[in-house]
């Protein structure tokens, strides 16, 4: 157990409680209110990581989510979490953290050798080498680079935690709970509108918690607490701490991640680790504050060199300091605050180095005005630095930490998410939000460039009032409490010139001033080229602390101003978001909803094997004891159906209720074949085309009454056909009287197929003559079954057998299948699944999804004559284009291998019996294949060029993918009962 040597007085940590945690296996203690970064700091740990390229030692740079350096792995196993910023990781008892991107240890990292070769590893060096010999890239160079690159690692165990998603609505979303955000939320909340106040910190208050400012008569943090108490007591306010608004999307939609349980060892049972909220906000105010920027100087990347405002925040809020002796390097007055606050905490501040010649004095320490830091020392952490004073002389000063302030950049990220461009503000030497903000978004406080506490309060209240005025709500101007209103006094200063050594701009990605210089030399001058060539700003912090510095260096090199040189806009997310949160509960088996057929429970009892068909689960086959291969099962189901009778749940086929005086006229335009004259009580096969003349879907339409049809679609296209029919109804022929309702779910429908199907159904259907004369092929009727249950009966056949489909209200589907099986016992009835269904339809030569593949026409399908040329229907006109009617167009044929032992594989290609085998000689391909237990041979359906004229031709069926080539004969696609006698029996 180490002592918290860098813990100071005051702060907001709860010294009354101790929390144990480990870093790289060493046990430390901290307090509630600590982050991992502050606790390690208090324990005197400065070295937390290694940089990406040179593996340079890295310590904490910043205080919040902008941290580029202190990335660690947390937890273990499925909860192992790479690249977590120690600065935002709340401490909890038992927290386990490890450093990353080092081997074997953080202190002794072998790849730190890269640093010795840094002069060879300049920006973009990899574009210039590793090209010879050619084969070495994938085999040697790239694996080496990949191993060295990357940061944290993933355990490859499944994440055990759940994630939720949710949807919130409000009049005003306030993003950030610093002084501006609190004031905005308070103003709006008092007006009675619905307010959401989201803050990424675990304790709202923003910089008020980090500063020693007074608001009114009380410390800023106390004022914040008082406001939060008032807000918490209001029903119209939702306070969301630990919630980062990560993106501003169209029309006032914001994404936010709430970290529900990241500060706990594990989420409570059933509760999520994080929630991804979609927030619908009428208006929003961005009060995201500002981020301090460093100054580039030689070896400015050592652990101990930190942002000044961060040092101050650690001292004031976390009661932790990076060292007992902290120097300050600044170009603005804010740096002086750091010195003053540290001195007040009893920390030794050896000096303030201010680049400004006219810098004001600081009480309690030496001021070097017009001076610069030109170098640092300390292998694994800062020990000393070298100054160049205004007169050019140098001086060395020992210190364990250096607080650097180069000024503050407003956090404009969200204002850029809809590609708004920030604009330059000379007064603070920074980019501020531009004119083209996301609609409904306003910006207040430091995010808008209002850097004083008074400015934050005033602009927060103002933004809220303006937003509410938009919405038509009157507000009362709040009494603004007194607060500091210091102007920003700053002399832009980006990097120290004329010193030896590399000066870092992007700490994580190891981009230095020299890299920018080289990019300029090689004409990678535009900002996007600069970023991409050097990787500046592409690290996990997205350039929050580095972009402007790089831009400033480039501006100097080009002789242009910074705004002339450009700006980069930011993209969502504001801070990185876990995949888990964005996926929510749509994971594992819950990835998609499951649709179950009405016979699902029964089929499960029968031991059915299920298969996914879209979102449906359908019984694929029903294995019996003793069957060792699925083929045995399927062959039995087919043979038994064709011999006696089989039953199959076909509920998944789409069913659309089409009613209205013009229902027939409507269907006549939807289908390629005619429907106007279909008699009541009859069913017709129908083929739908797309407007481009390609076959789209097929099914049947049953005319139950003059003004009432039931249309069936394929399972896959049920939703799409309905949508298209609604399009035709509403947009093409709005005055046809027709109404559409999807009734797929309402009816449980079963195919009853086979020579004994009539006999079976006669036992089920009440008082209806099912004889061939009374109820012929393609008849339909509304009937009752089992003593009065309403039902629909269709005499249609997909198998080619005498067959019916019977539909009952879905709740009776389970009972229906049981009744069918019981009634069928005497006929040796068999349930069959989708596999047998598929075999029988291939044997019969019926097209299905594999044939209706979106590129084939009625002609290809052999249904060319179905397309009526005497009426307007969708797809009719464009189906006549030459390219779709070539003399050698593909035609659907059947294939049989010469040797019944040879396989026919769907997806194999057809070649002439002799000649080359290549794409140039391709004659067609197999769409569907099966073993026909009736014919006792594999069979296939295929599209073959000019196939209708090639019956009897022997061809090679090649499948080089699996190394087979078999000889097949081209036959009719109707293998079984080609003249249809059975289905009409």
């Amino acid at each position: 157990m180490t002592v918290q040597i860098n813990r100071v007085d005051g702060g907001r940590v709860d010294r009354g409680q101790r929390i144990g945690f480990t870093f790289d296996g060493v046990r430390y203690e901290g307090h509630p209110g600590d982050t991992l970064a502050s606790a390690l700091m208090a324990n005197g740990v400065r070295l937390l990581g290694r940089s990406f390229k040179y593996h340079r030692p890295r310590g904490v740079l910043a205080f919040g989510s902008e941290e580029p350096n202190a990335l660690v792995e947390l937890r273990r196993g499925g909860r192992q979490e790479p690249n977590t910023r120690a600065t935002v990781a709340e401490l909890f008892d038992g927290l386990e953290a490890r450093s990353q991107n080092r081997f074997p240890t953080l202190r002794h990292d072998l790849l730190s050798v890269n640093d010795l070769f840094s002069r060879f590893l300049t920006a973009g060096f990899y574009y210039k080498t590793f090209m010879w010999p050619r084969a070495f890239w994938e085999r040697v160079y790239e694996p080496m680079i990949r191993r060295a690159a990357g940061l944290g690692s993933v355990s490859l165990e499944d994440d055990p935690d759940a994630y939720d998603k949710g949807f919130l609505h409000c009049d005003l979303l306030v993003i950030g709970a610093g002084p501006a955000g609190l004031m905005a939320a308070l103003t709006a909340a008092r007006a009675g509108v619905r307010v959401i106040l989201a803050d990424e910190d675990f304790e709202p208050g923003g910089r008020l918690l980090a500063e020693t400012h007074v608001i009114g008569d009380q410390p800023g943090a106390d004022w914040a607490g008082q406001v939060l108490d008032e807000l918490a007591a209001l029903d119209n306010v939702r306070l969301m701490p630990r919630s980062t608004v990560i993106g501003a999307f169209d029309h006032g939609v914001y994404g936010a991640v709430e970290r529900v349980a990241d500060h706990l060892p594990a989420p409570a049972s059933g509760t999520p680790r994080q929630i991804f909220w979609r927030i619908y906000a009428q208006r929003a105010v961005l009060c995201a504050g500002a981020t301090e920027r460093p100054i580039a100087f030689a070896n400015n990347d050592r652990p101990g060199v930190m942002l000044g405002g961060a040092v101050r925040a650690y001292a004031n809020r976390m009661a932790a300091v990076p060292d007992r002796r902290v120097a300050v390097f600044t170009n603005n007055d804010d740096g002086h605050r750091t010195a003053a606050d540290l001195i007040a905490k009893g920390i030794e501040v050896p000096c303030v180095i201010d680049t400004r010649a006219d810098a004001p004095a600081v009480a309690g320490t030496d001021l070097f005005a017009g001076a610069q830091v030109i170098g640092t020392r300390g292998r694994l952490g800062l020990r000393a630095m070298t100054l160049r004073l205004a007169d050019g002389s140098t001086r060395q000063i020992d210190c364990g930490a250096l607080a650097v302030s180069g000024g503050w950049n407003p956090n404009v990220q969200l204002t850029c998410h809809q590609r708004g461009r920030p604009q330059w503000d000379d007064a603070i030497a920074a980019f501020v939000p531009g004119d083209t903000l996301p609609a409904g978004l306003r910006v207040a406080g430091a995010a808008a460039g209002r850097m004083s506490t008074h400015g934050a309060l005033e602009s927060g209240a103002g933004a809220a009032r303006a937003a509410l005025a938009d919405l038509g709500h009157a507000t009362v101007a709040p009494d603004l409490p007194r607060a500091e209103d210091a102007p920003v006094r700053l002399q832009p200063f980006w990097h120290v010139r004329g010193a030896r050594g590399r000066a870092w701009l992007d700490f994580q990605n190891d981009v230095t001033v020299k890299d920018v210089t080289l990019a300029h030399q090689e004409n990678y001058v535009s900002v996007e080229h600069l970023k991409r060539y050097t990787t500046l700003g592409m690290a996990t912090d997205q350039g929050k602390t580095s972009n402007l510095g790089g831009l400033a260096v480039m501006a100097e090199l080009t002789g242009k101003s910074i705004p002339e040189t450009g700006t980069t806009i930011f993209r969502p997310p504001y801070t990185p978001v876990s995949f888990g949160a964005l996926a929510g509960r749509s994971v594992g088996r819950a990835f998609h909803p499951v649709r179950e057929t009405p016979s699902h429970t029964w089929a499960t009892e029968q031991g059915a094997v299920f298969t996914e068909v879209g979102d449906w689960l359908r019984a694929q086959w029903f294995a019996r004891p003793g069957e060792t291969h699925w083929r045995q099962t399927v062959d039995r189901e087919v043979l038994q159906t064709r011999r006696s009778v089989g039953v199959c749940d076909v509920t998944t086929l789409g069913k659309i209720d089409v009613q209205g005086a013009d229902a027939a006229a409507f269907l006549n335009r939807i289908y390629a074949n005619g429907f106007a004259k279909l008699p009541v009580g009859r069913v017709r096969y129908g083929l739908m085309l797309r407007e481009d003349g390609i076959a789209y879907d097929d099914g049947t339409a049953a005319r139950l009454a003059e003004d009432h049809f039931v249309v069936t679609t394929t399972t896959a296209n049920a939703v799409l056909v309905f949508r298209r029919m609604e399009f035709a109804r509403q947009c093409l022929w709005p005055d046809l009287d027709v109404q559409l309702v999807s009734t797929t779910e309402s009816w449980a429908q079963f195919a009853v197929a086979g020579p004994k199907s009539r006999a079976l159904l006669e036992k089920i259907v009440d008082d209806v003559d099912l004889s061939n004369d009374a109820f012929p092929f393609m008849a339909c009727a509304e009937v009752t079954v089992c003593g009065g249950c309403r039902a629909r009966l269709f005499r249609i056949s997909f198998s080619g057998e005498l067959a019916y489909e019977i539909a009952v209200p879905t709740r009776y589907g389970d009972a229906m299948i049981r009744a069918l099986m019981q009634a069928g016992e005497e006929f040796d009835v068999v349930p069959y699944g989708t596999e047998a269904l598929g075999v029988m339809r291939i044997e019969k030569g019926h097209a299905a999804g594999n044939e209706l593949n979106g590129t084939t026409t009625a002609l290809n399908l052999g249904l060319g004559r179905m397309v009526s040329k005497k009426k307007d229907c969708i797809g009719n006109t464009l189906s006549e284009r030459d390219g779709l009617n070539a003399p050698d167009a593909l035609r659907l044929v059947g294939l049989k291998p010469l040797d019944p032992g040879d396989p026919v594989a769907a997806g194999a290609h057809l070649m002439a019996e002799a000649g080359p085998v290549d794409a140039g000689h391709d004659q067609g391909y197999v769409t569907s294949a099966a073993y026909s237990p009736v014919l006792q041979t594999p069979i296939g359906l295929a599209y073959l060029k000019d196939g209708a004229a090639r019956m009897g031709e022997v061809m090679r069926l090649v499948n080089p993918l699996e190394g087979t080539e078999v000889r097949v004969t081209v036959v009719s696609p109707h293998f079984v009962d080609p003249d249809g006698g059975r289905q009409r029996a």
Partner: protein, 95 residues
């Protein structure tokens, strides 16, 4: 995105399915002289403007209305939403 449905008010665009240019309402006459050419232009050619675009959306997770939405393709701002059936009738479509 949010679409202000003329009957149902603001709805998340995720409830809708997008089709394309509202000119798809203007299906040509199949018996016209150059029906083939007219259908080609109707089905395949697009203005594809960078700016205001009248386009068809279907409220699939809603009332199953087809809507004509006028939206700026450079900013995504929506300036008007109409029932497509009304638009179709106004453009002379009937039976």
């Amino acid at each position: 995105m949010i679409i202000h449905h003329p009957l149902l008010g603001p709805r998340d665009a995720q409830e809708f399915v997008y089709l394309g240019d509202a000119s798809l309402i203007d299906r040509p006459d199949w018996q016209a002289e150059d029906a083939a050419g007219a259908f080609h232009d109707y089905l395949y050619l697009r203005d594809n403007p960078a700016g205001l675009h009248r386009e068809l959306w279907f409220h699939e997770q809603g009332d199953r209305s087809w809507l004509v939405v006028t939206r700026d393709t450079t900013t995504h701002e929506i300036t008007s939403v109409e029932l497509a059936r009304d638009v179709a009738r106004a453009r002379g479509r009937s039976r």
